[in-house]
């Protein structure tokens, strides 16, 4: 293959994101014969620390240093990449909030194809790359064929690829800052407002009774609270419950909410989107209770029960209470 492969490195406070290694593995799936080049934008000592840390996993690291890139504003990074990247290249980007901001517009500026949220890379077929995506919250997957003859921007789902263990690559850092040119944009970063913890810190709970859209209405949240109380845990939830204003944002588990690490996680009426699962760490015992036997949550749960949570939860609460009274 003649298309050169690049990976975009997301980093914070001088530390490269876990996706740096995952994207290197994904790049090898596309073409094992060429090592991918890492591309890193930022400023100052933090940027240099990140570049140095990448020398173990990448043979070549391109660095774009600019004072106004100290905070990663996708509007500025896009301009820089469009100037620095060679035509027809393939760029892999982590599909998280920065990648969603950066990549669709970048593909237009590079006149390249764009595929988002890729979970698997199948093979090259001539000028086409075959990839796997998921649709409808992971209920179905699709093979996608992407024409890479004029390059491609591919957003890769964090966690979908496993970083490879390999001998230190002893990479060299190449400064590409000059080529990035003047960077200005119609969007300016102001500040980051840190999320409030709320009344209960769900990150510290050993038992979580977590509810999703299946709870159906705000009044029903009480049946989950009763079970959580009987079990000595707390209630948490998935995104649709917060969107509907049935529970506070501080109770949301997921990539845009809290990261939790309980011993036991009861997923009640939760379909199990990858954004939700990304917030569950520490390999807890996951119990899924859902009316839909095909809900993706059953693929990751340890134990599954097909039932209506509105009936199941009160019945379980009664049994747990009976047990502690005995």
């Amino acid at each position: 293959m003649t298309n050169r492969i690049f990976t975009y490195i997301v980093h914070k406070s001088g530390v490269a994101d876990d996706t740096a290694g995952e994207l290197a593995a994904a790049a090898r799936k596309i073409d094992a014969s060429q090592p991918a080049t890492a591309i890193v934008a930022g400023w100052g000592a933090d940027l240099d620390t990140v570049c140095n840390s990448l020398r173990d996993s990448y043979a070549v690291i391109w660095k774009i240093a600019r004072e106004n890139l100290a905070y990663p504003n996708a509007e500025l990074v896009r301009k820089a990449l469009a100037r620095v990247l060679p035509a027809d290249c393939i760029l892999l980007v982590p599909h998280a909030h920065f990648g969603v901001d950066l990549s669709p517009g970048l593909s237009v500026k590079m006149n390249a194809a764009y595929v988002s949220d890729v979970v698997q890379i199948d093979c090259l077929e001539g000028p086409f790359l075959r990839l796997v995506r998921q649709e409808f919250g992971g209920q179905v997957s699709t093979h996608v064929r992407c024409d890479i003859s004029s390059g491609a921007v591919v957003n890769v789902r964090p966690g979908a690829f496993q970083a490879l263990e390999s001998a230190p690559a002893g990479g060299t850092v190449v400064d590409k800052s000059e080529e990035a040119g003047e960077l200005a944009a119609g969007r300016r970063y102001l500040e980051t407002l840190v999320a409030e913890t709320g009344d209960v810190d769900i990150a510290k709970q050993a038992v979580l009774v977590s509810v999703g859209r299946g709870i159906q209405e705000k009044e029903n949240v009480a049946i989950a609270e009763e079970l959580a109380e009987a079990m000595g845990g707390a209630v948490s939830c998935s995104r649709p419950v917060v969107d509907a204003k049935w529970m506070a944002k501080s109770r949301q588990v997921g990539s845009s909410g809290q990261t939790v690490k309980p011993k036991v996680y009861l997923a009640c009426g939760i379909s199990g989107s990858f954004q939700h699962l990304a917030g569950i760490k520490g390999n807890p015992f996951i119990v899924a209770i859902n009316k839909n036997p095909k809900a993706p949550i059953f693929r990751v749960a340890d134990v599954g029960i097909v039932d209506d949570i509105l009936e199941f939860l009160p019945a379980m609460t009664a049994k747990v209470r009976e047990r502690s009274d005995a």
Binding site: V100, D101, P104, A113, Q139, T142, R188, F285, A315, V320
Partner: protein
Amino acid sequence: MEILVCARRVPDTSENEIELNSAGNDIERDDLVYSVNEPDNYAVEEALQIAGRAGGEVTVVTVGGDEDEEILRREMAMGANHGVLLSDEAFAGSDGRGIATILKDYVAKNHYDLILTGVQAEDGGAQVGGMLAAMLDYPFASLVNSIEVLEGRKLKIGREIEGGNKEMNEIDLPCVLSIQTGINEPRYVGMRGIRQVASVNIPTLGALDLGMPPDAAGEAAAKVKRLDYFVPEQGAGAEMLAGEREEVIDKLIELVRVKGGLQ
């Protein structure tokens, strides 16, 4: 402030289980309930609230066929002033880039200060808004969960980033924003509202009306093509507890106790 909202009609996953058809080349579309892509409702609600504060009108646009007109009427019943359907045989088979190109040609013939999309569609890639902005050379922000109109043709916006944190930005108008769910509470649409807009004329514009060359969108221009649908492998999957509810609960309580979830 003239606001355009780009909306889409999609299978409603809260009403349907998504399954494969027998040929395995598509999902089973018979008996599917379709509705407005949920994030698009939040975008329309946000547009209505901004227009209510800052003045101006809200237009909802979609790319599709006659069957997609119903979602334009639904959003007009919410309060949008205009609906526009962009429809042409030449648009069939468009990828995200093609849809963005069609919208770009529509926007170029009109005047909007602010363009909103939903954050993503159930079967989409969170891509059209960012592409449209790049084609228009407008600034863009994704995952927007708050909007405040400032003096001097600017907005102060919040973006939802990791851990529930919020990234605050200032952005110049005109711009394109993709709206995250939960930014507001979309208003309820009753049958009365739907009836009131049932006979309103919705203009339909095709490639010729937009001055588009025949190969600018549609299947021939698509660089990205979906080949099939399949159900991902289950992996080990969960151990399913079946039987009478009382028995299931007894088994579950014992399992949870062993894992340290009950004293």
